[in-house]
């Protein structure tokens, strides 16, 4: 239980960032440390593989958590919860990236842990749109092999040097990359989600009429 207030500084995590900066120089683009919680580092695309090596060798982050990607494009379909016949307000498609910033639509990010230090780090790298590929991590962390296959399938991001970048989940001729935000879920377009209003009385505030009104207002929005 984190009763104690969060400390102002976090030496273990600061050290991670420092070592990365000293090893990679200015290819560490951005970083964010939440003391006592977590750390994010964004590196340049061409330093992606080297980052992995530094993390493993210099920082003893031997334990591989996961490697994934994210598409920062806001979904052009919203959540497709309303009737398809309704006029839907135009959705913003401005790209707003998360922690440690970002410049392009796609980012790969990975998380590794140093078991002796008991500290984890999330590293991110932009994937340029013109050449949708980064270097593979599978030679550094064996477990990255399948994760990269998954990303390749889900986002269409390539991994240079990957030994066997084949489909992992979907049947061979599946078209499109499902996790991209512009991949439509057809069923939702045919039929709206039946349970849009998702409200249930809380056990401790039984019949609060006012909250109910709020809920209706929010749900309609």
């Amino acid at each position: 239980m984190s009763d104690a207030p969060a400390p102002e500084t976090d030496e273990r995590r600061d050290r991670l960032v420092e070592v990365l900066r000293s090893e990679l120089g200015d290819r560490v683009v951005d970083s964010l440390v939440k003391p006592g919680d977590d750390v994010w580092v964004r590196v340049a695309t061409d330093a992606w593989q080297e980052t992995g090596r530094v993390l493993r060798d210099a920082l003893r982050c031997n334990f591989f958590d996961f490697l994934s990607a994210i598409d920062w494009l806001p979904s052009p379909f919203g959540k497709s919860e309303d009737s398809p016949l309704d006029q839907r307000p135009a959705l913003s498609t401005d790209i707003v990236t998360g922690y440690a910033g970002g410049e392009t639509r796609f980012q790969v990010f990975a998380r590794v842990t140093s078991l002796p230090e008991r500290v984890s780090i999330t590293v991110k790298a932009d994937v340029p749109l013109e050449d949708l590929a980064v270097d593979t991590w599978s030679a550094i962390y064996s477990g990255a092999n399948w994760h990269e296959r998954e990303i390749h399938e889900m986002y269409g991001i390539g991994f240079r040097g990957h030994p066997y970048l084949a489909h992992i989940y979907l049947p061979g001729d599946f078209e499109g990359h499902p996790l991209r935000k512009d991949f439509p879920l057809l069923a939702r377009h045919v039929k709206p989600w039946p349970g849009i209003v998702d409200v249930e009385p809380m056990p401790d505030e039984g019949d609060d009429a006012e909250a109910e009104g709020d809920a209706a207002a929010e749900g309609a929005e």
Binding site: Y169, L170, P171, P178, F183, L185, A187, W193
Partner: protein
Amino acid sequence: MGLVESGKMPKPLTNLLNISRRYSIWIFQWGLACCAIEMGAALGSPRYDVMRLGVIPLPASPRQADLVCISGTVTDKMVPAIRRLYDQMPDPKYVISMGSCANCGGPYWDSYSVTKGVDQIIPVDVYVPGCPPRPEALLEGIVLLQERIRHEDMAERWKGDPIVVT
């Protein structure tokens, strides 16, 4: 050619055959998803013990199975295998669709990779609703199937082409 198929089987014999089919249902050892565990509980748990009803959970090969229980989510990648295994079972064969996913897609109704209902691929005799259904529900489904088998008219069943869903 079979006497049953041509409907020349005497009535008492037909009854006898129906009864023996009813009490000897070899269920295919094949689970797909969450429901498979509840099916496993029905098959394997001493508390439910489907063997009481004459359902024998021995066969691991479709060639010896009478009943396949599609227990869980059917994905598009899985569909050919389900179809193939169903085809490889010898007639007469029965299908129980267990759980919402197998019935209609269930909570994955909007997924890009889930087949919305196994009955699009193979004919289903009994649907057992639930997510997942309790083992008792599956037992109820099996009892229903047994009732159905008891009163089945095999000549009628074999009339015409094999049931093919296209």
